[in-house]
Every structure is written in structure tokens, then in C-alpha cells.
């Protein structure tokens, strides 16, 4: 196994809650509360969880789009969080992001060409003469006609815009791409096109992906390994096949059983969790999942479960496993 391209250790992001007269900090939204993982070169790590689990915050903290509260992010041997501004700017060539909303992620005043030239201008890549050629080849690579460079985002469908968003991320030849719900806003027929494109690009450019999504089927499809988050903490990490066939954490089990399956004859045991997701501003004591867990015992309310490797490369945080 090669050395990890991205190594995240004990990443924490608390958003202060300010109240009262002087806007004193009275508490924290614990969006990300101690997440550690490593992604190897060429691998896809899927990150799943429901709203409020911190998956998006985590993605943006790794890139320092949000400044993390604590933790260590090592990329290609460099400590990302200790880089100064110019170093960080240079580092951004290596790590890119694709956003969820294809309507909000492109500047409406820029043509597609301008949007794609922007990364090259910022990092002073290629000679100005070559840049346009690069734009055309990027467009063609993501399945768009090169004459689209002169058009504006509003002339395109969601799927096409998402292709442009992907092209923008690739314009700087990154090693790592964080995909933040890249297909969630797309229709199913278009979603599959984009998923296939992402797979092809990964093979061609040896990309490493962190794929953030709430849709488990999509994550299963694209990921080599999957990490399940709940309220800013890790619940379970395992190889994709292992996680989906042999989930250990009660939350993972419930999550898997809750997905409606497109087969009217599928006979499944369904675990319906009671109650709502607790607020990350006031997470439960002990195991964060104990309030909804069907098998919780006293210990779960008091003690935070340790993060353990129960099988080879299958980690879980649960007292009962």
C-alpha cells in the first residue's frame, strides 16, 4: 500500500454560538468533532451522513475554505494547516473542490471560457496563447463542445453546468478533488452521466477523490472505502463492499435499511429510527447516537465509544460491537 496522499487527524470544527448583550460565545455547534482518516493515491473515499453530520464542513475544513478549530491535515507530506498565505495558494493547485449546486457554483457574469481561464490566470499556468486551447480540450474532456466556451452558464442545464464545475477543478491538474454532493441536485438520468464521467477522469488523471454524499447507493457505487458520519463524529469506516454487506454500527444498519429499494418484492427488515436528529449544538452525552439507537444500553449514555478496528480495515465506534 502506498503512503496516504491525504491524512486527516483529529479534525475539529466548532462554530461559536453567540448570544446575549456582548455576543459572548455561549456554546459551540460541534460540526466536526474529531474526525481522522487517510486517503491513498488514486482511491475514492465516500463520506455519508444525514444533514448536520458535518460532512460538508469537513470537506471545506480540509481545504481551509473554513478554518478548522483543531486537528492536523497532511497532504503529500506537507502540513496544510501551518502553511502561510502564499504557500496555501500554491497548495490549492493540488487540491480542488466540486460543489453541489450547479446553479450557484458558476459566476453568472462569466462565460464558460472565462470561468475556465480563471484558474490558469490565478496560478499563471500556460502562456496566454495556450490557455484557450487548454479550455477547449478541458471542455471536450468533460463531454462538452468547445464552442460552449463563449456561452454563459444560464444557457446550460444542471448536468452541463456540473461538467463545467468539474472542468474548472481539473484546470489546475490537482491530485485530490473533494466532491461535495456533486450529483445531489441532478436528475437521475443525468446523475449517471456525471458519475461515469467522474470515474473516467479518475482513471485518466489518477485522481484521488473524497466523495461527500447523502445518497448511499451513489456512495456505494463510486467509493473504494466509505466513512459514515453522525453528528460530527465517525460511526464506521470500512471498504465499500464490506460496509454495505456487513454493517456493524446500529446507525449504519438503520441507514441502510431506510433506503427505499426500487424492487416491489424486496423483503427487508426495516429499522425505523425514532425521533429526530439531535442538534449538533447540543449533542447527547456518551455515544451521540444513543438517543435514537434501538439497542442502546446504559453505558452508551455515559461513555463515548472508542474507535476500534474490529476487522481488518473495518473500524467502528460502538460499545456493542
Amino acid at each position: 500500500m502506498t503512503e496516504a496522499l491525504l491524512q486527516v487527524e483529529e479534525l475539529v470544527k466548532y462554530f461559536p454560538i453567540r448570544r446575549g448583550v456582548l455576543q459572548r460565545t455561549v456554546g459551540h455547534v460541534k460540526a466536526v468533532d474529531g474526525i481522522s482518516f487517510a486517503v491513498n493515491q488514486g482511491e475514492t473515499l465516500g463520506v455519508v451522513g444525514e444533514s448536520g453530520c458535518g460532512k460538508s464542513t469537513m470537506g471545506r475544513s480540509v481545504l481551509r475554505l473554513i478554518e478548522p478549530t483543531k486537528g492536523k491535515v497532511t497532504f503529500n507530506g506537507k502540513n496544510v494547516l501551518s502553511l502561510n498565505k502564499p504557500e496555501m495558494r500554491a497548495m490549492r493547485r493540488e487540491m480542488q473542490i466540486v460543489f453541489q449546486d450547479p446553479y450557484a457554483s458558476l459566476n453568472p457574469r462569466y462565460t464558460i471560457g472565462q470561468t475556465l481561464l480563471e484558474p490558469m490566470k490565478i496560478h499563471n499556468l500556460h502562456s496566454p496563447g495556450e490557455r484557450m486551447q487548454k479550455v477547449h480540450s478541458l471542455l471536450e474532456r468533460v463531454g462538452l463542445a468547445s464552442e460552449y466556451a463563449r456561452r454563459f452558464p444560464h444557457e446550460f442545464s444542471g448536468g452541463q453546468r456540473q461538467r463545467v464545475g468539474i472542468a474548472r477543478a481539473l484546470a489546475v491538474n490537482p491530485k485530490l478533488v473533494i466532491l461535495d454532493e456533486p450529483v445531489a441536485a441532478l436528475d437521475v438520468s443525468v446523475q449517471s452521466q456525471v458519475l461515469n464521467l467522474l470515474e473516467d477522469l479518475q482513471d485518466e488523471f489518477h485522481l484521488t477523490y473524497v466523495f461527500i454524499a447523502h445518497d448511499l447507493s451513489v456512495v456505494r457505487h463510486i467509493s473504494d472505502r466509505v466513512m459514515v458520519l453522525y453528528l460530527g463524529r465517525m460511526a464506521e469506516v470500512a471498504d465499500s463492499e464490506e460496509l454495505f454487506t456487513n454493517p456493524l454500527h446500529p446507525y449504519t444498519k438503520a441507514l441502510l435499511s431506510a433506503i427505499p429499494v426500487p424492487d416491489p418484492d424486496a423483503k427487508r427488515e426495516r429499522i425505523i429510527l425514532q425521533g429526530d436528529l439531535p442538534s449538533p449544538a447540543n449533542p447527547p452525552s456518551g455515544c451521540p447516537f444513543h438517543t435514537r439507537c434501538p439497542v442502546a444500553v446504559d453505558k452508551c449514555r455515559q461513555e463515548v465509544p472508542a474507535w476500534r478496528e474490529v476487522k481488518s480495515s473495518h473500524h467502528v465506534a460502538c460499545h456493542l460491537v
Binding site: E50, S51, S157, G159, Q160, D187, V188, S189, V190, Q191, S192, Q193, L195, N196, E199, H214, L216, S217, V218, R220, H221, I222, F244, T245, A254, L255, L256, S257, A258, I259, P260, V261, P262, D263, P264, D265, A266, R270, I272, L273, Q274, D276, L277, R292
Partner: protein
């Protein structure tokens, strides 16, 4: 099984920049007593518009033609006061966005009571008591307190329960649910779907469930109608559709969704994009994206029978003969 709702040849045209565009064309379906019909399709296929047309909630300047028969009475022909007696009373509706579908300045109880006061002519006190019962019915804890709270104090899942309580208030015979779980998390979706399944079964309600999720259809529906670009392209009992999808679009849809179990395969996408309202083209609307397109597809196909109660709008099945509808 008597049909509670019969929709015939429903056509809806929107006014955009001084021209009318057809958002829905020739849509026909029936929903029997206690039956759940799933209307599936991608965004812009006209499924939500269809449901709003049944409720007559489309904006003015929209042309609606065809028939929407509720227990034999054509809703497109009744007067507005009469229609108001039907809305929320005989036919009620829940929407996709629980966060914005409740009025932020009125208490939960007031909003549920509104239907009761409008249709059952009950006193405010009685309406409040019934609202509490309804909140309990949809599984809301602390109903006595929640009834006096405001929407922003509740989570999305709770708000959707309130919406369901509101829809159930007058024990309607038809429930229209427009993407009721799309905005919710998976585990909350499971709760809401479970609740809806129980309530409709217990009250013997007919349901029109609009969704883009084939998984939800498979779990909830008795029959399915697949919509593409304003038309129903395939319709039939849920098992038939999943076992023997006939329309290339339905087949395409089933192949392009990643599976949660079984072997991982490369997805087979449907190429191209959903046509926009302004350029629908002629003939079969799916033809430009269809892997099996033929010359004849330049002409408009009709709905052909491909099995028991199973119809398909595709030239591939033309030899089976036009359905009686």
C-alpha cells in the same frame, strides 16, 4: 374497485413571454378507492403541475383542458366556491418543502384548525382539541404543547408530520403528496413513508404520490405512471412495471440508478438532457435520447396495451394495438 379520481386527457399550457407552452399533454389516469398511484419522472416532466391542476391551484393565465373527475364530478367545470369545498375537505395535499409550507406567523394549532373551521364548522375550542388529536395521530410527541408552538420551532420531519395532520383533518378521500420526503433525511423519510402508509391504509384513502425516486414508488404504490416531458409514457401495476418495463425511458431509468446491493456495474446512463418546455420537438419526445429510436418515432405514438392494465406510449409496442382509452 370504483375509481375515485379519473383524469382524462389533461393538457396544461403555460404562458411564457406571450406564448403558450404545453407542460402537460394528454395525461390520463385513474385512482381507485384506497389505491396509491405513483407519478414518477424527472424534474420538469409535468408531474407536480398535474397534481396542482387536479387541485386547481395553478396560476391564472394557465390553460387547462381535459377532465378531472372526482367521484363523477368534473373538477375543471365546478365553480370556485364549490372547488373550495373540495380542497382540504375531499382532496387534500402535502408538499415537498415542509420548511416553507407552513405559515411562520400562525401557531401550529391555528393552522390545523383552519381546515376544520372551514369545512366542519366547528368552534375554535373544539378545533383545537381535534388538532391535538391529529398531532397525536401523526406521531408528534408533546402534542398538547406543540399545538401552541410556531413552525420555526419544529424540525423538517416534524413539520412534514404537521402538514400530514393538516391534510388528514377532514378525512379526505384523496391525498395528493407532492414529493413529500424529498427534502428530508433518509431516516426521517422512512418515518414519514411509514406514517403515510399506515394512515392511508387505515382511512382507506386514495393517494396520488408524486416522486422522482423509484425506490419510494416500489415501496408505496399499487400502480405507477411514468412521465416524460409532459406525457405519461408508461403506466401499469407496480410489479408489472418493475418486472417488465416496456418503454425505453423506463428501462433507462432503472438502469441508470446505482444499486444498494448486488454487483457493482458501470452505470448505463440515458444520454442527452431533458428537453425544455420551449423546445419539445415533434413525435415521440424521448426519441432524441432513445437508444432504440426508429424512423417512425418522428410521429407521435399513442398509448398501447402491453399487458394487464399495462400501457406504453412507444412505437415498439404498436403492434399490440391501441388501448381502449
Amino acid at each position: 374497485m370504483a375509481d375515485v379520481l379519473e383524469v382524462r386527457d389533461l393538457t396544461i399550457e403555460f404562458l411564457i413571454e406571450e406564448r403558450y407552452y404545453r407542460a402537460v399533454q394528454g395525461v390520463s389516469f385513474d385512482i381507485g378507492e384506497g389505491e396509491t398511484l405513483g407519478l414518477v419522472g424527472e424534474s420538469g416532466c409535468g408531474k407536480s403541475v398535474t397534481s396542482l391542476a387536479v387541485m386547481r391551484l395553478l396560476p391564472t393565465h394557465t390553460k387547462v383542458s381535459g377532465q378531472v373527475k372526482f367521484r363523477g364530478q368534473d373538477l375543471l367545470k365546478v365553480g370556485e366556491p364549490q372547488m373550495r369545498q373540495i380542497r382540504g375537505n375531499e382532496i387534500s395535499m402535502i408538499f415537498q418543502e415542509p420548511m416553507t409550507s407552513l405559515n411562520p406567523v400562525h401557531r401550529i394549532g391555528t393552522q390545523i384548525s383552519e381546515s376544520l373551521i372551514l369545512h366542519r364548522n366547528v368552534s375554535a375550542a373544539k378545533a383545537r382539541a381535534q388538532s391535538i388529536d391529529l398531532l397525536k395521530l401523526v406521531g408528534i410527541p408533546r402534542a398538547e404543547q406543540i399545538v401552541d408552538e410556531y413552525p420555526h420551532q419544529l424540525s423538517g420531519g416534524m413539520r412534514q408530520r404537521v402538514m400530514i395532520a393538516m391534510a388528514m383533518a377532514c378525512q379526505p378521500s384523496v391525498l395528493i403528496a407532492d414529493e413529500p420526503t424529498t427534502a428530508l433525511d433518509v431516516t426521517i423519510q422512512a418515518q414519514i413513508l411509514d406514517l403515510m402508509r399506515h394512515l392511508t391504509a387505515e382511512n382507506h384513502m386514495s393517494t396520488l404520490l408524486i416522486t422522482h425516486d423509484l425506490g419510494v414508488v416500489a415501496e408505496m404504490c399499487d400502480r405507477v405512471a411514468v412521465m416524460y416531458a409532459g406525457q405519461i409514457v408508461e403506466q401499469g401495476p407496480v410489479r408489472e412495471i418493475f418486472r417488465h418495463p416496456s418503454h425505453p425511458y423506463t428501462v433507462g431509468l432503472m438502469n441508470c440508478i446505482p444499486k444498494i446491493a448486488g454487483e457493482r456495474k458501470r452505470l448505463v446512463p440515458i444520454e442527452g438532457n431533458v428537453p425544455s418546455l420551449q423546445n419539445m420537438g415533434v413525435g415521440c419526445r424521448f426519441a432524441p435520447r432513445c437508444p432504440k429510436a426508429m424512423d417512425v418515432c418522428h410521429e407521435e405514438p399513442e398509448e398501447y396495451s402491453v399487458g394487464t392494465e399495462h400501457t406504453c406510449r412507444c412505437w415498439l409496442h404498436a403492434e399490440a394495438g391501441v388501448t381502449s382509452r
